[in-house]
Symmetry: C2
Subunit: 251 residues, 2 copies
């Protein structure tokens, strides 16, 4: 892993780009860390990985908001990666949302897609934990929709993930069986976010995925509205939920 | 309304019994208010009404916990009434839970049952707001199961109820049509709590009631487990949810 440029601290949170090389792929990421007085404090500190949705990228507004809340309110670190074909990994920078969604469906259908993304996250985790200001603290994961498609296999493969927020996904699609098997293997505290009128994911498919999650400690939060209409309330809930499990003594 | 005895402040929260007479019925209640330094501070302050579940009573543990959190954390007032045939209104004090549940089903099937309970709450609201330390502040309602059966009609009849938490109930039972019509009339922010493996209320009936709720601002929280296994997490959520809408500036 190599850092790219200096940290940008203009927001009061230190944001720094990085790149991690996995299996010949250059995967661009961003890490967020406390700035100012807390900047010099070594880890370990909890690290929250944020997986973006299809057609989006590692620095979409709600990811930046989530990262800032985690860093500012709890002193955590956060990190996001561009998924294959997304963000700085788009083969065609002029592709519109429809093309990007088509590319995502193609990639999701490619055998090995899930394993590749899991490997990218695992390489990023190992590299980020070498950074003294992050260190080997507990890890949380937050990712909805495509962030759940790849996040459930990551959490199943990666015992360092101790708490996760999933949602906007169901038992459907080309990796349905993999997602179900990996969901059943999970045992950590989980939150599952569902949109009641999701036009992309059927409610019964979502319930089937919630049912499949192996964790005893799980909760489902649903709000009216379509796929992308998750309210800010659930971002705030996510931050407190992740913090409750990653730094219980901190509270 | 008349107060009964002096307030008990041993818990750090002032708890005082009262009785309100409605249509020839003597309805026993409890009010909770700040004790200590805040005791002398006049209202208006937000008032949260708490309706208990079938076979329970106005002073069941989770109601006391909820009231204490509302009073201690937010300086609110809280009040609970015994429902017909429950608590101090049991015709037979030696009745066991099975008998109490049978009595509840009989009462629920009695025409006029819902109107009577709504009238009891409305009389209590008016009387409590005469108390200077409560005053005419905004009102919230919290009640699951039987507390929802009577709470939805109360909220529909009572514009002073500005936010409510319902749950553990569906579109079923003798007042199903009344509950559905009153649910559709609601417009205030609502939370709906559901137990994923509720042995008394079918999941689809619960979803139908959540769908019927007229409010745009509503959310559903579900947890694994049977009817009575609502986790403390939802009590804490309820307190913050009620506070967010009853005293937004206070936050």
């Amino acid at each position: 892993m190599r850092w790219i440029g200096e940290a940008d601290t203009t927001s009061g949170v230190a944001e720094r780009a990085f790149q991690v090389d996995v299996g010949g792929r250059e995967v661009p990421g961003i890490a967020w860390l406390p700035a100012g007085e807390a900047a010099g404090v070594d880890g370990p500190r909890p690290l929250v990985l944020v997986g973006h949705g299809a057609t989006l990228h590692k620095r979409v507004d709600h990811i930046v908001s989530l990262a800032h809340l985690l860093v500012r309110t709890h002193g955590f670190a956060a990190a996001a990666l561009d998924a294959p074909g997304h963000g700085d990994r788009r083969p065609d920078r002029t592709a519109d949302e429809v093309q990007l969604f088509g590319n995502f469906l193609t990639e999701w259908s490619r055998p090995g897609s899930t394993d590749d993304v899991v490997a990218e996250w695992q390489a990023a985790i190992s590299a980020l934990r070498e950074e003294p200001r992050i260190g080997d603290g507990p890890i949380g994961y937050w990712g909805l929709s495509m962030g759940t498609i790849y996040g459930i296999p990551l959490a199943a493969a990666e015992p360092r993930v101790q708490v996760a927020v999933f949602g906007l996904m169901g038992l459907l699609g080309p990796t349905k069986d993999r997602i179900e098997a990996d969901a059943r293997a999970l045992a950590c505290p989980l939150a599952f976010i569902l949109q009641w009128h999701d036009q992309l994911v059927g409610r019964d498919d979502s319930f089937a995925l919630f049912d499949a999650l192996g964790s005893v400690d799980k909760r489902l939060h649903a709000h009216p509205g379509e796929h992308a209409a998750v309210p800010p309330e659930e971002l705030l809930f996510s931050v407190e939920f992740l913090a409750r499990h990653l730094a219980p003594a901190h509270r």
